[in-house]
Symmetry: D2
Subunit: 438 residues, 4 copies
């Protein structure tokens, strides 16, 4: 009964990450036989789309798989009748990210792409575009799944869930990365590692770690103290204090450092900024430029190994795993962003949460959380989720007052005065991308 | 890391069903290598235990698998250090069942083994014994899983969950049977059929039917109207009305006939009783006697095919599937009875529910119900669950007033006067098995 | 700040109850100074409206209060700018009630005006009319409170809450009657009696009885066993069994007899019907005819004492108490039908419940229930509320399948076959009043 | 039925506030006829107890009311058979408060008596003592109400609710003060002001303001921007920004300034500390010394007017209002701290919340919150309540790790490193008062 004329559309197809995804589709062609692959971008990204597109063509050719590759600026053509649409866009490109990182630093606050005021700014720019795409999907491919990779993935996914009627899931490489890191820490193959992870995107906790059928959570908590493996490439590794980890009672994710260790994290960022005048965006710009140079090489017909340095490790793996489980009705468990619907009982039903789900042909079905949830996890999760709800409202409706409160209650901002200053500067600096505030 | 000295204890080992289970352990020995299998029974069942036990020995020998079979009346010896304990007991044997079926008929009510007043009587007899076993498990095998097959499985499982601290699940062959019947109806292999089933034991609804990844629920509802396949062996098949099925919006289980069609169901039972003076228990007695005759044959070394007529089709399959998924940390989905914990949001947290669960080495983890639940399903489920809660309390604590209310609010009894008469007669007729009411 | 040009509109102003209400407005004129009182009816009720209206005029004149009385068939004129609108209508009049009572009896079921299949039929006729009135209120008097007295009050109120955006409360004389009866039983003044009552209209429990500040609940439960005071005029008094009352753990209301004692209640009704060919509707017809004869007497200028025999004792008291507490922002506690919103935690948020509320100028604010709620109360309440939700849907949307399930799960019907027969006969017998089913 | 031999015990009777309370009992003697009033203190407070006690005697004598005053150091004698026990203790006296305020300042954090790290330190000292008192009440006066005034009142009340089985309510003068201030702002008598207030102690929001039956909330929000009336004596008045108040959508309480304006609040405190080396505790010490001097005057037989400067305005009024409403079963509405039990649906059932309650002879019964609760209120409330739950656990059980997390997630601390330093210093500085950490 499965379709054999699979059509996949990639929004933001000119991204430097695209070769990851293409490699995934090639490797998995026997179980997920894409027939038509559309890479979509906007006119200003024409050069990148063509560079990436040509590499993709060479990769497909070399692999000898029957995938028809289409490069296009016509989003609607790509969406029409598609089975899966992935989104991986960066509205305003790296220049905007650079501003997102630098504005908060001025006020003594964490300046980060997805967390805090920086992530808020990114949300304001991104949500309107993604909602437009969702509207096209509703019209042109109502049965499709939209797999959203675009950050801040929790907020963007929640906006799509609340403001459109399409089938969607938000996806991040952090959950799969955590399993990989635990596997490394425990020196076992990743296939033997099961974790219970829950929370929201970039703020989740691993509450149970099972290796080879045995619960070794407390064991790993001890090992993880100070271990350098448990973080993402783009997050500084401060190492956790053993007693502190015990008091959390679960394994925090890398982004928790911006909360639990915000002073250190700020100092680290600020020092770099003061010394070199740069932030992470500037590093990424450099890496991207190098990558695109590599991509242009007409002799290159594989994903260049340098791409793994870029920070999106497991990105392709996460995406292809999810899509192929839907397509094949696999009923395996993956950690994705979905409508809460009571699975985290102390969060509203209509928000996005990042939880373990059974993946089948009908979508993602959250699995009940087995561990009792402590107040220390609950409280932090609730306030950050409330921030996200307000950010969604601000971004989708251009609601200035919601934005003001979003920043006021955010643990990384926290005062009305700072919130007001940040909000005004963010809106002003991004005005060309914020039609909703006009 | 998996144990290779697996010990399994079967409470009620002298049951005629045991060869099913033994066959299952033999067939699955490569993936679930039982080393020690204890069949436990009570002295009055010595003859049955020996007959069944000898057959089991011949079966094991013929199959050539290294299972050590132990027949014992010493429950504690069997439990000590066991990995899995299954329970399949019938307190008071078929004579008690016969009374359970006949007493309600006198009052113009459904007389059924597990549903209504008959099931209530069975619960009163069974819960104290199972709680005693649970106490032994707590002491002698605290990490073991108790897999409860003893009916009424929902009530018995809830009693164990509420009054003991052990790991337990209730299991019934109805869910697997439903999948089999749907497969037959749709003429596909059962492996291609996924169902969303939820409710409580013997009162569950199939709200989504997916075949080969495609949702064909409404299709099956149409086919099922009047179809004769969708019922269990021991439940008369009246066929559902097409319009009625549409108004339910889900596929009822076989036991729903006692509710939705109680007049017809009563007439059918009562007619048989008036004509022949017998109920289902009498038929089963005859079948059992024949089975035990067969079992005695020293040349028999396989499960005799006649056993499948007995009504417990898929019993072995359900049990072995569950146990081997726990042992192998399989993470597949099975429908079992577990603590609700909010998965059915309109039932209390601490009751047992029968829902789709991910089965892994840590137990059963309910999966969120995807279908919206209609008032017609909710209301009936809630009142019958409230009955069960009261029945658990009556059975575990000998609480007469809880028993009086249990029967008063049960849709198949429904008045205070009838409840009082039934309760007094049930307690009187079963007094040797009801120490809690002394 | 209070308005002094109060306008009140009475829908169904030609009712025999109206003199009760008029007497209430006269007596309370100092604290609730109605200036314009509109009695509204439909053309076919012209004679009754004029008879009642003339009596009301004489009453007002005799009392010497400055109330302007208006008799009208123009509903919109009456509603426009009104502060309070009360509804007390009987669609199809007593002939329809007579059918509502007789149809179920044919099938061996309780035939009652508000409970079971009879109440369901009344709901089907009434909901469309009340929703039309609500639509006019929304347009012409959006700040008004609609006080709904029309039975089945729980279902009608829920329909208004779900399908219109107006401010409304459902009101019944049972709660105030219960307090009166307890006062009588305890031989104290009613002002000294506080009760915690909750549930839904005509199915509520009194879980705490406080007299003079002292909790005497268990005391009253003992006294109430067999007491004849605790029922409404129009409900046969069977007396409760002491042990049964203890098992409930709360004082049931009079209508509980149709559930807990449905066999006796049916026999009683059926005997009367078989012997005399009449039901309660026929008695009421006679009483009404007599009342209207009395009302015609041009010398009568007070509410005739015979009206109290009619069954609506405390009707005026309940209505005027509620309205004057809203008007005067009294913040006292009354038991009314409002949106649940979590106050009964195991019922949906959007249903109507009958609970203790603080009454102030903004409406009715439910008070948290202090007593733990037992499964025996919860289960029965849940299934009857689910019936009501389905009845609301059937009545408001003309949803035949919802109606079929409403009757199927109702404890006083209970099978699919009976439900189908009843539904078809009810729709057929009432077809002129059921535009929604056309 | 009401008792006429009322016994009241005041824990911390030597407090400078006691004359407030005594005045209240004198003024209300006709409606709350205290017969025996016990002022209880500990030996080190002998001098204060005697000074206050002698003033109280003179006040009672002068007023000519029949109250027997008892001064005692024997807590159990005072508790035995008491009807009401109030607590108003300061463990470690003002010296400890001074430390509570100064330690956080060192780390750049708000140093406040009840909020943040200072309030946490106070909780650690206070909870064990109050739980000891509760234990005595359980034994010696099991039907008594304990009215807890001791700060941090939310945490202390929650500890008593969770760890003892007595009847208790926490009480604060902030709610009554808010009504007073609104009355002043609106230039009406306070009796005309009704407010919907909810949250937790010292972090509550006024979501609806009704004056004379009319909802004037948005009106007041506009007036309140910048108004200087809306704060407590001991909280600096920064004035709210009009736009910010609109974004909150409700009236914050005075203590919200420590959250919404924490930078300004810190600067203000710190400036004073740097300039004068003092904090609020030092001011209070001075005021107290002056008050005790006044109290010693043998000619003084009334509450000296200077006491109102002390910061506890309305303290007596709040306490006596509550007690007399319980005694007289008044059923009026007051804002007190009680077990949540679902009234704030997104907080756990077993925590303390500060909400509008109906007060009757059985205690306090929360009223449903009518206003929809926005994410901005919800999120902040949830994280601070989670802090309180952890603080309760740390204080009651001596759980160091709970304490570490309490401070880590508190919005006014917020990092693991600071939390650790603060916790260690707080425990060290208070070690003589913290037996639970030994």
């Amino acid at each position: 009964m499965k379709k054999d004329n699979l059509k996949v559309a990639v929004m933001g197809g000119g991204s430097s990450y695209t070769p990851e995804l293409v490699e995934g589709f090639i490797k998995n062609h026997s179980v997920f036989p894409v027939r038509d692959l559309y890479l979509v971008d906007i006119e200003p990204g024409r050069q990148k789309l063509e560079t990436v597109g040509n590499l993709a063509k060479r990769m497909i050719e070399k692999a000898g798989v029957p995938i028809n590759l289409h490069l296009t600026f016509d989003r609607r053509e790509a969406i029409e009748g598609a089975d899966f649409i992935t989104t991986q866009m960066r509205i305003g490109m790296l220049d905007a990210r650079s501003r997102d990182e630098k504005i908060p630093l001025k006020y003594g606050l964490i300046g980060q792409e997805t967390t805090g005021a920086g992530g808020f700014a990114k949300a304001l720019r991104t949500v309107p575009v993604v909602l437009d795409i969702a509207k096209d999907i509703k019209e042109l491919a109502p049965d499709a799944f939209m797999i959203n990779f675009t950050n801040p993935a929790g907020i963007v996914t929640e906006a799509v869930l609340k403001y459109s009627g399409i089938r969607t899931m938000g996806l991040c490489n952090l959950p799969i990365g955590t399993r990989m890191q635990i596997a490394k820490l425990c020196e076992v193959d990743v296939s033997k590692v099961d974790i219970e992870m829950f929370g929201i995107n970039h703020l989740n906790w691993t509450t149970r770690i099972v290796v080879d059928g045995v619960d070794i959570t407390s064991n790993v908590l001890n090992k993880a103290a100070g271990a350098s493996g448990l973080t993402m490439k783009n997050i500084p590794d401060f190492g956790w204090d053993a007693e502190f980890l015990q008091s959390v009672g679960a394994l925090p994710c890398g982004y928790h450092r911006y909360y639990y260790m915000k002073d250190k994290a700020f100092e680290d960022m600020n020092k770099k900024f003061l010394e070199k005048g740069t932030t992470r965006a500037d590093d990424v710009k450099k890496v991207e430029a190098e990558l695109f140079e590599l991509y242009k090489d007409p002799n290159l017909a594989i994903k260049p190994p340098q791409l793994e340095q870029r920070g999106g490790a497991y990105y392709s793996e996460a995406a292809v795993n999810l899509i192929k489980s839907i397509y094949n009705n696999t009923r395996d468990i993956q950690t994705v962003n979905v409508r809460n619907n009571g699975i985290i009982p102390f969060l509203p039903d209509d928000v996005s949460v990042e939880v373990n789900c059974v993946i089948d042909s009908q979508g993602a079905h959250p699995v009940q959380i087995a561990s009792p949830i402590s107040p220390q996890i609950r409280g932090l999760l609730q306030v950050v989720k409330a921030y996200e709800e307000l950010a969604v409202k601000a971004a989708a409706e251009g609601d200035y007052l919601a934005g003001l409160q979003a920043l006021t209650i955010h643990p990384l901002v926290g005062t009305a005065e700072l919130a007001k200053k940040l909000l005004d500067e963010i809106i002003s600096a991004n005005k060309e991308y914020l039609p909703q505030f006009k």
